[in-house]
Symmetry: C3
Subunit: 346 residues, 3 copies
């Protein structure tokens, strides 16, 4: 557990009165910056040149910019040194592992508000589903090409990401036909028919409670538009292009909270202290009101961008506008006040 | 009209300075509790053991918990006595009639902010549609198995609820085939093709005005996901699993307000004073911009859970965040200030 | 450029301490009135008799009502005189050109916060697409009946508006069959398959910046409901009946901002000072994350009605609830403070 001790050391050298919250210029950065400012933190945007122009529109949310030429440069010693000198805590988001690579990410000598090892599990499709099953959360059936099946399935190619690299098939024969020769490392999952719902959780080590801060539906191209066409032969694709807000039937929330609790508990087997902060369970609700979780995200999801002024759920907990980005900053603030910063960082 | 006099008597014994707002632990309870607290009321959660753990996450919204072992126990004398001693007004929601049964509900000796007799009409599919027609609100055509028809229809089995027990068919032959021997008491309604919209109204006896506080789309499993699949043979099902926000074309709002007015007026034939508080008209907007109402709810609907911090419409009326739950509590407060509590309770 | 000088003269006669914001009773009027009041302006509702009853529900947002018998009466001298005497700036919306006719609209001797000439381009389907192409914004391919094609296309009949008068066809043969003899002035556009997203921009001449204040999905009858039906032969129709909120993948926002900048720049070739205030680009996001813009609106769109208390994007710019209607009023206020009113009016 070498990296953890090193993180402890980095934190011990930080000026606790000048902690800054840093984020890579993508995914949910605007929300994270906005939330950090609301909680009184200075912010640091880490950006490549192509993104600078856009984020300059929000310079009132950004105190410092750390310029890098490629995302992977964040792993270079001088960049790390610069971030450490600014007392930066990075909030990792869904683009971060993808951009910087998982080796660099895992050992990065910057404190993260977020869970390195759980994000590592998230990045491996097989470990991811195995983790959910071991947590006791219902997941879709999996099929192998060794067996015969007639079911409607979704096939995930190696490296599938953000909804790309998935396809739907009906039965083994159709899977084999569509795969062609690329049969290695594919995941074949029961396609659960029902309404999708993505739950945004926040686990607070300081308040020792799990909060449900919002729910969304991912808006996918072209799957969410095919129904508008008459009798079409177009195959669905699943690239996530945005998010749509929703609330869930209140009588389902106890179950959603239960699965969240199970997830938190299971993370203690993976990382020191388990998960701290945001995560997401990605589910289908069937017409018998059972919930099947087909993926998770071990960090902030972009669906939280819907709720920058609070969600139908966050208002139940907080009597002020509380986005996920602000909730993260609030937790860091609470931890600083209690001299427990190390407990919320990984 | 025995029960009404009894309610008057119960109210007359209440301590008006210590009115508490009570709700069963389901449906829109969190919103109702949240709204009641915002208006300065103490709250009472009535709950069965299985729900206690979940609602304990929101104990900051709950002043008293009344524990019952089954929902029907709310009808027992000692529970009623306890609620009366706490000066409780219950806000009935969509799960209440289902949970406690309509006989108990109708005679329950607890003041309700909501309409017993209109909820009774709501619970009977035939009276429900008859009520809408008598109010002068456009409804879908109905078919009987005595006649022949080729139309696309939706068939509602007896006891259909929350979207369960419905199916779609094309023409009489298909209906008969899908029904099998269960032909009794089915309702066969024209399936109106168009965009669904559910209007959340609030009628205020104190301000003597009808407000439109929000609009939603019910999110149904699996109907709202079938369009994502290529050429599927899966039959749609209509279990409501949540709600999605929407706004309506402004030029349609006068019509929506007109239908709401008609509804309010018609309720005066059913219950003393007509409806007080929330109700919902559930419609399809056709591509010629006509509106067809296929159902109503004579009480708060779960779609209002979207708007816990106000909706695009509530902000037009109120210069503060006004959920339907808070609006209910506000009306009780206004009635208390004017010594007119009996006028808003049923 | 006669009308511009005349507008300058009208403005010069206005009492700058008593500017009133006026709007026709439709489309986004409630939002515009609400926003004007928030910024401290008096408001004027211009209405026909059929709409008065509905808008009377919002009399707290309306200071003066100008009654006209038909929309076109707004072009009569005495109505114009009355509006000038009230120092009215009209905020034109999507119903205005349709209601008053484009000749009257173009020469109307009332200052507009909005762009006459760009709205004129918007009203002409061929010039509209030509304008987008000349701005350097990606648009769908267009087809003519002189050529042969097999593509999925959307056909727009002359006068198509608000989603009405469109149909989908597959290949030239199907187009010809569905058109029958009405082949004049039709536009045949590639039907781009992907997820629709509508971006609400505001260009501020005073702050010299382009803001993205919201994104929505138009909710169309019956296209958005067909996917709920099993194997249906019903042809899609595209009447807009409302709007659903969404957020976009953050990594797409730089491109969206770029297209907005290109649009603003191109408008300077069409109208003195280019566009001032709201406009909308109406797009499909393909599964390769490219964006194709199939239409624009050169004024406030009804999708902004979703965000009367602010949108996920407006909160990033403004630390207060900022609807598009309020943003318009804010710009007028800023212009008045800087004695630059003429710069934001057209």
């Amino acid at each position: 557990m070498e990296e953890i001790d090193e993180i402890k050391e980095v934190i011990s050298n930080y000026d606790k009165d000048n902690i800054r919250i840093g984020v890579l210029a993508s995914h949910s950065a605007l929300q994270i910056l906005h939330g950090a400012k609301k909680e009184g933190f200075e912010t640091v945007l880490i950006t490549i040149p192509e993104r600078e122009g856009f984020y300059a529109n929000f310079r009132h949310l950004i105190d410092k910019v750390v310029h890098i030429n490629t995302w992977k440069e964040i792993c270079r010693d001088e960049v790390i040194k610069k971030l450490q000198d600014l007392n930066v805590i990075i909030v990792p988001h869904g683009s971060m592992v993808e951009y910087v690579g998982s080796e660099c990410f895992l050992d990065l000598k910057i404190p993260l508000f977020g869970s390195r090892k759980i994000m590592e599990v998230e990045a491996d499709p097989r470990r991811k589903m195995q983790f959910l099953r071991s947590a006791g959360i219902p997941t879709p059936r999996e099929f192998s090409l060794e067996e015969d099946f007639d079911d409607l399935v979704i096939v995930k190619l190696p490296g599938a990401k953000g909804g790309r690299g998935y396809f739907i098939a009906k039965g083994k024969r159709d899977v084999v036909k569509k795969l062609g020769n690329n049969r290695r490392d594919v995941i074949i999952q029961e396609y659960v028919v029902g309404a999708r719902a993505y739950y945004h959780y926040f686990y607070s080590p300081i308040l020792e409670r799990l909060e449900i801060l919002g729910i969304d539906i991912r808006y996918e191209s072209n799957a969410d538009s095919l129904g508008r066409l008459p009798k079409s032969d177009i195959e669905p694709s699943f690239t996530v292009i945005g998010n749509i807000p929703m609330v869930l039937r209140e009588s389902l929330l106890p179950k959603v909270m239960d699965y969240g609790d199970k997830f938190v508990k299971a993370t203690t087997n993976v990382e020191r202290g388990g998960i701290a902060g945001p995560f997401c369970l990605e589910s289908v609700v069937k017409d018998d009101l059972s919930i099947v979780v087909f993926e998770f995200s071990g960090r902030i999801v972009a669906g939280t961008n819907l709720y920058i002024n609070g969600s139908p759920y966050s208002w139940l907990y907080w009597d002020e506008p509380m986005s996920m980005g602000r909730r993260i900053a609030r937790e860091i603030k609470l931890a600083l006040e209690r001299d427990r910063l190390y407990d919320v960082l990984r």
